[in-house]
């Protein structure tokens, strides 16, 4: 690999920054001046996705599925309806499908064509999810991608990759770690990481909680 050369990974936005700052400011000003947007709307949006909606939503779904067998069954039958009862709703969550990880099947979610992601339960996607390495390699060689995350699965585990090519949004329900019997939903939710709901990680172990 020619890794000694300069790369342009998505996260080197330093060089673009000042130019992009100017360009977005120009657009925003024009749209404001033409009356297409209300500055307060912009603030609501940023506030919503920066502060309110995030993987904590998804973690609540997973924790509930771990303790409540009826909810769990419903979640896998009709993710959209089951999740709606938790009142997140929202954009890019209209057709949510929950995927069950088991000792024999591990699910992973990608969008090779753009960056489709279940915003309603996970918030906005991290940079790596939108990056070329992830989008290119996950469908062809998911195990090597898992290795980038330090995760090595048993050789005979079936890996199911879900390429979100349409309006369906996927969330992975990771396996419940052992040693968590009798835990409350709130405490269980702390074990559920964002990556475990994308499929690039597993839920935390009890000992991982400080």
């Amino acid at each position: 690999m020619a890794h000694d050369h300069d790369h342009h990974h998505d996260h080197d936005h330093g060089s673009e920054l000042s130019e992009m700052q100017l360009r977005t400011r120009a657009l925003e000003t024009i749209l404001l001046e033409k009356g297409y947007i209300d500055p307060a709307a912009i603030d609501v949006l940023i506030e919503t996705y920066e502060k309110k909606i995030g993987p904590r939503n998804g973690a609540q779904v997973v924790a509930k599925a771990w303790v409540d067998p009826i909810f769990r069954k419903w979640l896998f039958e009709d993710g959209t309806a089951a999740i709606a009862t938790l009142d997140f709703g929202g954009r890019s969550g209209n057709h949510l499908v929950a995927l069950e990880n088991t000792p024999s099947v591990h699910n992973m979610v990608v969008c090779t064509l753009c960056s489709c992601y279940p915003w309603a339960v996970l918030g906005l996607p991290p940079l790596w999810y939108k990056s070329a390495p992830y989008r290119s390699r996950t469908v062809a060689d998911p195990r090597s991608v898992l290795r980038d995350f330090g995760l090595e699965l048993p050789k005979d585990t079936e890996i199911r990759v879900w390429d979100s090519t349409a309006e369906l949004r996927y969330m992975v329900v990771p396996m419940r770690p052992p040693g968590t019997d009798g835990w409350s939903k709130e405490k269980l939710a702390e074990l559920v990481t964002r990556d475990s709901m994308i499929g690039t990680g597993l839920a935390k172990q009890p000992r991982d909680l400080k």
Binding site: M1, H3, H7, D10, H11, D12, H13, E16, L17, M20, Q21, R23, T24, R25, L27, T29, I30, L31, K34, G35, Y36, I37, A41, I42, V44, L45, I46, E50, G54, G90, R91, G93, N94, H95, T112, L113, C114, S115, P126, L127, W128, P133, R135, S136, R137, V139, A140, D141, D148, T157, E158, R160, V161, W162, D163, T165, A166, E167, L168, T200
Partner: protein, 219 residues
């Protein structure tokens, strides 16, 4: 189109590099870029498929060297020009110069709250019964439209199984070209990794895509 957006199965991009404690946005301009795209979508200046197509049309050499929100911004500028929302002079000046061409529909904070809650569903009443059922074997067509499509290159020509009948949805291939919503049945199709990547590939891998009925043919 077979553009830079269609990355599935490409080599050479290097490792996936997760960022520790990644913030939601990496700069203030990213917040604006994000919000501006939401707002222009709700204002129905154009549809989401048309906006996706515009992003894919960015020449690959440029596409692959832009950051995520950089892509959004470049595409947004293009859309504003193409749909007559702004002129090149206005983009350069950073101010409105010409009067508004279309009647502006002001998007308010309340609109945004509704949008965040309700989203924008894409399912539609079915004009005809679904052609395939769960378990059917299908082949993804070998098609190479120059326009927007959601059928990735790596799946084309390959055989898989229907694992879910999702419903009847807006067809992005026509919606992106402003040729109407033209709803079609949507399916989840599962492919064996070896079918997609050849006999040497990992036998434990399966890949699922969503495919509209016009992408598929029976076996």
């Amino acid at each position: 189109m077979n553009g830079a957006a269609d990355m599935g199965g490409m080599h050479g991009f290097g490792p996936v590099v997760p960022e520790q404690n990644e913030p939601v946005f990496h700069a203030d301009w990213e917040k604006s870029a994000f919000a501006l795209n939401m707002v222009t979508g709700v204002a129905r200046l154009w549809n989401l498929d048309a906006f996706r197509f515009k992003r894919e049309c960015i020449p690959p050499a440029q596409y692959l060297n832009l950051s995520y929100y950089g892509l959004w911004t470049v595409a947004l500028e293009q859309m504003m020009l193409e749909y007559g929302i702004a002129t090149p002079e206005e983009l350069a000046a950073g101010h409105a110069i010409a009067p508004v061409k279309k009647a502006a529909r002001m998007v308010t904070a309340a609109d945004m709250t509704t949008m965040v809650r309700c989203g924008s569903p894409y399912n539609r009443p079915a004009p005809a019964p679904a052609r395939f059922k769960v378990g059917d074997q299908v082949r993804a067509k070998n098609m190479h439209p120059k326009t927007h499509t959601r059928l990735p290159r790596y799946a084309r020509g390959h055989t898989g199984n229907i694992v879910r009948v999702v419903g009847c949805h807006v067809f992005p291939d026509s919606n992106a070209s402003n040729a109407g919503e033209n709803p079609h049945w949507l399916y989840t199709v599962r492919f064996d990794g070896r079918e997609l990547w050849g006999a040497d590939s990992d036998p434990t891998v399966r890949v699922c895509i969503e495919a509209w009925e016009p992408y598929l043919e029976p076996l």
